[in-house]
C-alpha cells in the first residue's frame, strides 16, 4: 500500500477520525488542564463532600481536594504511562520477536521458551511483586516495569509475522541478489511490518493504562502525585459510594474506559485501512 492510498483510506475511515478527535481532545485536556485550575492536586482546597458545582467542577472528596484538578493531573499520568509503558513493551516485543523469527534455530528456541513462560504468568501478579519492593515509585518507573512485563504476546505475534515475511518471494529475491542483511531487514521486511507494529502499539498503549490503573488501585501506584487509579483507590478506601459521593468514582473510571475504548476502536479502524477485506461495503 503506498502512502497516498493509505492517507485516502485513513481519512475516510469514520472510526479512525472519531477516535483521533476524542484522543486529541483528551490529550489537550491533559496538557492544558492544569492551567485551568488554581488548585494543587493534593491541596486541601476547600470544604469536603461537595458535589460538582461552579467552583469545583467535579466536586471535592473527603479531604476537600478538588477532583477536577486531580482528574486532569491523573489523566496526564495515565496517558504518559500508556505512551512510555506501551511504547517500551512494543519495542521489546518487536526486537525479541523479530530476532527470534529472523535468526531461527536455538536462538529462537530460547527466546520463545522465555516468552511462553512469561506469557503464562499473569502480568499483574508479576507487577505486584516487583512494585511492592520498590520504595519509591514514580510514573516513569511504573511505565518501565509495565513495559518490561507486557511484551511477551507482542513478541510472539511479531515472530509469526516475521516468519511469514521471511519466506516471501521479494525477500528471497533480495537474498539471491546478495543484498546485505541489514538492508533486507530495514528495507524489505520492516516496511511491511510497520502497519502491524503500529496496531500493536495502540493495543499496548491501552493495556499499559489498564495495568497501571490496576496497580494504583491495589495500592502500588506512584508514591507521590496522583493518578486516576489512585483516585479510585482512595474513593474505595474512604467509602465514597457508601457515602453517596458518586462524583468521586464516576469520572476517573469513565475517563479510563473512554481512552481504552477509543484506542480499541481506532485499532479496528486501522485494521480496516490495512486489510481491504474488512472494509465496510
Amino acid at each position: 500500500m503506498n502512502l497516498k492510498e493509505f492517507v485516502y483510506f485513513f481519512l475516510r475511515n469514520k472510526k479512525i477520525i472519531t477516535a483521533l478527535c476524542i484522543l486529541g481532545l483528551l490529550a489537550l485536556v491533559s496538557i492544558f488542564g492544569p492551567f485551568l485550575t488554581s488548585y494543587d492536586p493534593l491541596e486541601f482546597a476547600s470544604a469536603p463532600y461537595q458535589p460538582p458545582n461552579r467552583q469545583h467542577w467535579l466536586g471535592t472528596n473527603t479531604f476537600g481536594q478538588d477532583l477536577f484538578t486531580q482528574t486532569v493531573y491523573g489523566l496526564r499520568s495515565s496517558l504518559l504511562v500508556g505512551l512510555f509503558g506501551g511504547g517500551l513493551a512494543t519495542i521489546i516485543g518487536l526486537i525479541i520477536g523479530f530476532l527470534a523469527g529472523y535468526r531461527g534455530g536455538w536462538f529462537d528456541e530460547i527466546l520463545m521458551m522465555l516468552t511462553n513462560i512469561l506469557m503464562v504468568i499473569p502480568t499483574l501478579a508479576l507487577l505486584i511483586i516487583i512494585a511492592a519492593y520498590l520504595p519509591y515509585r514514580g510514573v516513569l518507573i511504573q511505565s518501565v516495569i509495565i513495559g518490561l512485563t507486557a511484551w511477551p504476546w507482542t513478541a510472539r505475534a511479531v515472530r509469526a509475522q516475521t516468519l511469514s515475511l521471511k519466506t516471501r518471494e521479494f525477500v528471497d529475491l533480495a537474498r539471491i541478489t546478495a543484498t546485505r542483511s541489514s538492508k533486507i531487514i530495514f528495507q524489505e521486511i520492516m516496511p511491511n511490518m510497520m502497519s502491524y507494529v503500529f496496531m500493536v502499539f495502540i493495543l499496548q498503549f491501552g493495556g499499559a493504562i489498564l495495568a497501571a490503573t490496576g496497580l494504583d488501585f491495589i495500592g502500588l501506584g506512584p508514591t507521590r502525585g496522583i493518578s486516576l487509579g489512585i483516585m479510585l483507590q482512595q474513593a474505595t478506601l474512604w467509602n465514597a459510594i457508601q457515602l453517596g459521593m458518586w462524583w468521586w468514582v464516576v469520572t476517573p473510571g469513565a475517563l479510563i474506559t473512554l481512552v481504552v475504548a477509543t484506542l480499541y476502536i481506532m485499532n479496528t479502524g486501522l485494521d480496516e485501512v490495512f486489510n481491504p477485506r474488512l472494509r465496510e461495503m
Partner: protein, 345 residues
Amino acid sequence: MNFSRPKGRDCSEVIFLRKYLLKKILIYVLTFFFAATINWAIPRFMPGNPIHFLIARFATLPESAKVLQSYFTQAFGLDRPLMEQYVNFWRAFFKGDLGISIYLYPQPVLKVILRSLPYTVLLLLPAIIVSFVIGNRFGAFVARKKYLDNIALPIFYTLTAAPYFWFGILLAWLFGVVLKVFPIAGAYSFAMTPSFSWRFVSNYLYHWILPFSSLVLVMLGGWAIGMRNMIIYELEANYSRYMEALGSSQSLIRRYAYRNAILPQVTGLAIQLGTAVAGTLTTEIVFSYPGIGYILMQGILNQDYFLIQGCFLFIIVGVLIANFIVDILYLIIDPRIRKSYTGEI
C-alpha cells in the same frame, strides 16, 4: 469405519496423549520454577535494598529497628550464602512453609491464603465460564447483522475497556446504595459463621451476586468482540460460500461457522486467564470480599511481604492449573490435534 482400522490405533492414541500431556506439564513445571525463583530473587536483588528501606522507617526507634533487622535477617535467612538461601527457600516451600503473616500475626501465610482461596475460586470460575458461554453466543448472534451490530459493538467495546473494579464500583453504587437491593461488602453477613446450612448458603449467594455479575459483564465484552470477528471471517470462508451456493439455510451455515470459530476462542481463554485473575483480585477489593485479592491488598498496605509473596505463588499455581485444564479441553473439542499425531489426517 472404525472396525477396519489396525488394532494398534488405540494404543498409539494413548501414547500420544501421554506425550502431549507430559510435554505440557514439563512446560508448566518450568514456568512455576521460573516464577518461584523470581519470587525469591526480587527481595534480595532489587536495587535499593527493600529490606533496608523497610528498617530505615524505624530509624527513630533504634530498638525496634534492631528487632526488625534480626527478624528479617532470620526470616529471609539473609546471613547465609545465597545458594543456601535458595535451597532453603525450596525446602521450606515443599514443607508448606510460606512464612508468618505480619498483618495477621502470628498466623502462617499458608493458612491465611487457604482460608481465602475458596472465595476467590468460587467467584472467578463461574464468572469465566458464564461470560465465555454468553459472550460467545452474543458475539455470534450480532455478527453480520448490520443494525444490531452497530448497536452492540460499541457496548462490547465499552465493557471490555472498563477497568474491572470500576465496573464493580458502579454496580455496587447502583444496586447497593441507590436501589438498596444487594449488600456491597463481605461474602456473608457479619452475624454468620460459614457452614453448609441453607441459611448460610443463601446469604453467601446474596453477597456473591454483585461481584459475580460485574466480573461477567466486563469479561463478556471481550469474548463477544472476538467471536463476532471470527464469525465474520468464517462466513467469508469457502465452505460457507459453498454451503450457501448449495442452498443451505443461514442458521445451518452459522452453526458450522460457530463450531470453527469457537476453537481460537478456547485458545484465547488461556491467554485471558491472567487478566481475569487480575480483574477478580481488584473486584474483591471493591466489595471487601475476603478472597486472595483482598488479603493481597491488606498485605501491600501493611508491608506484609510474606503474604504478598505467598499470594503470588498461589496465583501462579492457579493459573498454571487452569492453563492445563484448557489444554485438555482443547484436546477434546478439536479432534484434529489428536488425529494429526496418530496419523489419521
